[in-house]
Every structure is written in C-alpha cells, then in structure tokens.
C-alpha cells in the first residue's frame, strides 16, 4: 500500500501536484517510485521553459526502465529542482519532498483532469 497524501492532487500519469499560492509544485508519487525501482538518473526542465499540458518536464531512469514526467497544465517553469540530478535516490526516499519543478499555470484555477487522493487510490487499484 503506497503513501497517497490527502492534500495533493494527482495526474493519471502518476505525478503529484501541490497547489502553492498561484504556482504548482510537481513530483512523482510514491506508487510511481515504487514501481520504477531504484532511480539512477533524473533530469528536470530548465527555468523559463514554457510548456503545454502533456509536455515533458523531466526524465528519470531506474535500473529497470526510463520514463518521462509530464506537466498537467500549460504554464512556465519558474523553479527547477537541480538537486535531483545529483541525488536521484531522494525521489525513492521521499517522493513527496522531491519536487521536480515549480510551474506558473497559464490559466488560473484547478485543472479538471486531475484526481484527488481517493480517485488516484482507486485508479492504481489500492
């Protein structure tokens, strides 16, 4: 059973989203890091990058596989967690502290395609 905090929102592609004032912090869920296994590489989008929803905000590699991390919204990257590249294992150790980027959404409001904790829990079958 993975850790799914109630105060976060979730994308179907296994990102968590934390609403923080008028910006969002984005990372990957405990379930995702558990499925991926030990991470050996992480790369995050650079500050200033303007993204559309569904575009890549980072890439990770584990001993098993490689995956992209997607933005759930249109917006601009205003902060980028460069420590992930040096210590990708922190994502395994504490996925909800290991944010990838802070994004300023192009539109205000909460995107409708995101799940709450209960919805995400049901989606991954827990």
């Amino acid at each position: 059973m993975s850790n799914i905090p109630n105060d976060l929102l979730y994308a179907k592609s296994h990102e968590w989203i934390k609403l923080d004032g008028d910006t969002f912090l984005i990372g990957i869920t405990d379930h995702a890091q558990c499925e991926l296994g030990d991470l050996v590489f992480a790369e995050v989008a650079a500050v200033g990058k303007v993204l559309k929803a569904g575009q890549v905000i980072g890439s990770i590699e584990s001993v098993k596989t490689a995956s992209d991390i997607y933005s759930p919204v249109d917006g601009e990257v205003i902060e980028s967690n460069s420590t992930l590249g040096d210590k990708p294992e922190q994502i395994n150790e504490d996925p909800y502290a290991s944010w990838f980027i802070r994004i300023r959404p192009a539109q205000p409001g909460i995107p409708t395609n995101l799940l709450d904790a209960a919805g995400y829990k049901a989606m991954i079958g827990e």
């Binding site: 050996v40 098993k64 596989t65």
Partner: protein, 495 residues
C-alpha cells in the same frame, strides 16, 4: 536441475596482462638465425623506447587456456536455451563461419577498386534482391550497422522525402506505447517530436488514439508487427490507410520479422520503410556487441534518398558503387557496412530457400505457443491470446508473494537458462518477454517449462532461494547477483 555442459573454470581472476613471467618453455617460434641489427644506428636513440612494452610473456598454451576459460564464463546459444524476447537468439550454423572466413570474402580490402571486388558486390546485389522479395520493397541499403542505426537511417530518408516535397513542417513521429525504446530514441535523434499512441485493451494500436494523433505535422508512424507482445496488429491495413491519408510514412521495425518470414510482407501491409536485423533474424552470432547489420529497405518513391554510395549494376553486367546521388541522405557508415554479416545472411537464405524460411516462421510461432500453453498455468498472461514468435507474461502474482520478476530472472540462471527480457514492454507490469526461436529443441523447451514451474513453486515455499539468486556454483554460475544500482550510478570504469 539440468546437467551443465560447462567445464569448471579456473578460479584465477587475473587479467591476461597480469599473467606471465619469464617462461621460455613451449615457445613455438624458433630462435633467430639472421644477424641482429643495431637499433640505435638504424632508428636513432630518440625513436627507441626506454623500456620494453608491457606485453605479457606467455606461452601459447597459457594464452589458449586464458581465453578458453573466459569463454566458458560466457552464456551463449551454444551453451543453453536463450529465450531473450525480441532478440531472436537463434542458433547460428557453424558453416557460416567457414564461408565468412573464405579468403575472397575475409581478405578483400574495402578500398580495393570495384573492378577487383566484383564477386563481393555481386553477393550484395543478389542479397538485396532476396531481401526485397522477402520484405516486399524495391531497394535496400546495407550501410547501417544494426537495428537502431537502421531506424535512424530510415527516418532520415522519410525526413528527406518530406523536405523534397516542401513538407518540412512535418515534425512529429508517432510511436505506440509498446514500441521498442530505440524507436522514440531514433526519432528524437533525427529531430522529431515524439507522440505516443496508447495501446487498446487487446494490446493493439488503438485506432481512435491513432486517428486523434494524426494531423498535418505527422511525418510518420513507427510500428513493429507482430508487436512487442508477440501479437499481430490485425488492423494494419486500416492503420496504413490512416497514416498515408494524413500524409505520413509508415516505418517497419523489423525486430520481429522472424514471426512472419514468407507468411506475409511488410511492403504488402503498406510499410514504406523496413529495417531488418540480419544478425538476429538471418542468423549471425550476436549479443556480444556485434558486429551487427541493420539494412534498410524502401519502396521506390524513397529510393532516391538511399545513402551514398549505392550499389549499381552497369549495362555491361558489372557492379560499381555510385557516389553521385544528389538527393541521398549521405553516407551513414564507413565502407559497405558489416560485409561478413551479409555473407552469413546470404548463406542462411540460400541454405533455407523459400520453403525453409517459411518453416522458420512456423516453428518459431509453434515453439512460442508451446511455452505459452505450459507457463500460463503458473504465471499471469495479461493479453490472453495465441501469440506469434514471442509472448509476454506478468510476474504480478509472484510479486504479491514477495518475489519480483527480477528475482525470477536471476533464479533461472541457477537452472542453467538465460533469463528472458524483463520489465519490457512497459505496458505490462513485472513483464517477462519470452522468445524461444525456431532452433530451440523440444528438450530445451521442456527444460525451460520445468524450471519456470519449479520456480513458481519456490516463490510460495522457499522465496529466499529467489531473493539470493543466483548462487555461484563454480561453473554455470560464476558470480552472485551484481549490485545493479551501484553499477548504474557509480560505475568504476577505470581502476
């Protein structure tokens, strides 16, 4: 447990450079009977080494033993079953090595004038004719070194084709989510934006998802058929029509062509570009890092873009290499690719003939379904249908009991088998992708079934046997489980 055919290797782990001393026995070279010269007079002091080079002083038997012991630590098709999915680890007839070593093939220099290498050029031309017939395309290039290199070359041709028509704005390559990882990687190397197409519940390309992804920016779709689940994309006709209607080109990843040899042809399914892995499907030793060969075939409308030089037959009947190709994507590899792999593939095609190649695909499919029918008793089969040349099991049931697919793979080594491909394709959890190939014997197949079923029991009763696997035994299993995390994160590449 299966009996091993291995000899007990020397526990000595020294490199050959660390071996040797001052042995003067067993030397096969006779002492010099000619006058020696004074090097300093001949070459000058500045050009002489101060110290002797660090070449180990070894007698011939010591060198032979060193490499023979090393070769016994390696697992290959020649030592046991090797069901590594999508890699087509078929047995490679030894006569191919004799043929490839013939002096006319092995000793030809790539810079020799065309006129003095006519036999080799004729072999390439004839092989091209056979591959065109097998794939249903019009031309081939032999330059690419292996599969991913072929993908890149094929995509360069697609890009050149769109550019030549003033449609350079087509910058999106579609790739299914079950694709080989090389497909999106090759497309990215060409500069394409990748758009992933979801698979439907049956494991096939979802036609609605495909239609939604098609627009005027579509450069093409890359597809493996049968796909990485070992299932034939039965909607391929419709897929080809949709992609072509949108102005895209259809790329065939030939990794799985073993399943359809002489049954159907990529060209007939509507593909415009095809790459083959001669080192897999057409039988050449591979898996040890090469040499590979990834020829790319195209329909006539893409032929002007083939890499240069191109092999031409002159009106007189002789062959030459044509460099003047204004629309070509250029040279993608030095010389003529891996020529000796072409010799092996040519021998394989001629030895089998059309009927033989048809039996290859039939037997590869029969062998895979034989394993599938037995292994589904103990393992989950997420896409439950008869397969072609390979199939994908899930270790989810075992994972719930505390043993991962990685543990199962490692335990198979204890039983004397090479593990299947694991954790791929990505759309199956705890995936095990199994491809026995047509050359595995009934005994080999039964042995694999027995081992997999025994391991499924061990998961329930003695899981620690899996967690600690493999167990070094001094011969078939030389080492315990390597630390893959540290190997990936902190590799020590130089001591």
């Amino acid at each position: 447990m299966r009996q091993s055919s291995f000899q007990t290797p020397d526990p000595d782990t020294r490199l050959i450079l660390e071996k040797g001393g001052t042995h003067f026995a067993n030397r096969l070279i006779a002492p010099l009977d000619t006058p020696t010269i004074d090097f300093q007079t001949w070459f000058g002091l500045a050009n002489l080494r101060a110290e002797k080079p660090a070449i180990p002083d070894l007698a011939e038997p010591e060198v032979v033993r060193h490499y023979t012991v090393l070769s016994q630590k390696n697992f290959g098709v020649d030592t046991g079953p090797y069901p590594l999915g999508s890699c087509t680890m078929k047995y490679n007839p030894k006569v191919h090595e004799t043929l490839a070593a013939l002096p006319g093939f092995a000793n030809v220099h790539p810079l020799q004038p065309d006129a003095t290498a006519q036999g080799n050029l004729a072999l390439m031309a004839d092989l091209e004719k056979h591959l065109c017939a097998i794939c249903g395309v019009d031309r081939f290039t032999f330059q690419p070194s292996a599969g991913a290199h072929g993908e890149w070359t094929g995509l360069l041709m697609i890009k050149a084709y769109h550019d030549s028509r003033g449609e350079g704005y087509r910058n999106v390559m579609l790739v299914p989510d079950s694709a080989h990882g090389t497909n999106p990687a090759s497309a990215a190397m060409v500069g394409y934006e990748i758009r992933q197409i979801a698979s439907g519940p049956d494991g096939m390309v979802d036609l609605n998802a495909l239609e939604a992804a098609l627009d005027e920016r579509c450069a093409g779709l890359m597809l493996t058929n049968p796909n990485t689940l070992g299932l034939f994309e039965k909607n391929i006709g419709r897929i080809a029509a949709l992609v072509h209607h949108a102005g895209g080109q259809l790329y065939y990843d030939g990794a799985n062509i073993n399943a359809i040899l002489l049954q159907t042809r990529p060209g007939d399914m509507g593909f415009d570009v095809v790459h083959l892995n001669l080192h897999k499907s057409f039988s050449t030793p591979h898996g040890g890092g090469g040499p590979g060969s990834g020829p790319v075939g195209v329909k006539a409308h893409l032929a002007p873009f083939l890499p240069a030089p191109d092999l031409m037959k002159n009106p007189t009947g002789s062959y030459s290499l044509e460099y003047e190709r204004p629309l070509s994507v250029g040279r993608v590899r030095s010389f003529n690719g891996s020529f000796l792999v072409l010799v092996r593939a040519y021998a394989y095609i001629l030895a089998n003939g059309a009927m033989g190649l048809r039996e290859v695909s039939q037997a590869s499919v029969a062998n895979a379904n034989y394993l599938l029918a037995h292994l589904r008793k103990a393992y989950d089969l997420p896409f439950d249908q008869p397969c072609l040349h390979e199939f994908v099991l899930s270790g989810s049931r075992q994972k719930e009991l505390g043993c991962s697919t990685m543990d199962i793979a490692k335990r198979l080594i204890d039983y004397g088998f090479h593990p299947p491909t694991v954790y791929f394709p990505l759309i199956v959890k705890e995936a095990m992708m199994i491809e026995p190939t047509e050359t595995e014997t009934q005994e080999g197949l039964d042995g694999f079934v027995e081992a997999m079923l025994a391991i499924a029991e061990e998961v329930k009763n003695t899981p620690e046997l899996l967690h600690n696997a493999p167990h070094p035994n001094g011969h078939t299993v030389p080492i315990s489980r390597p630390d893959e995390l540290r190997a990936a994160k902190d590799p020590v590449l130089r001591v």
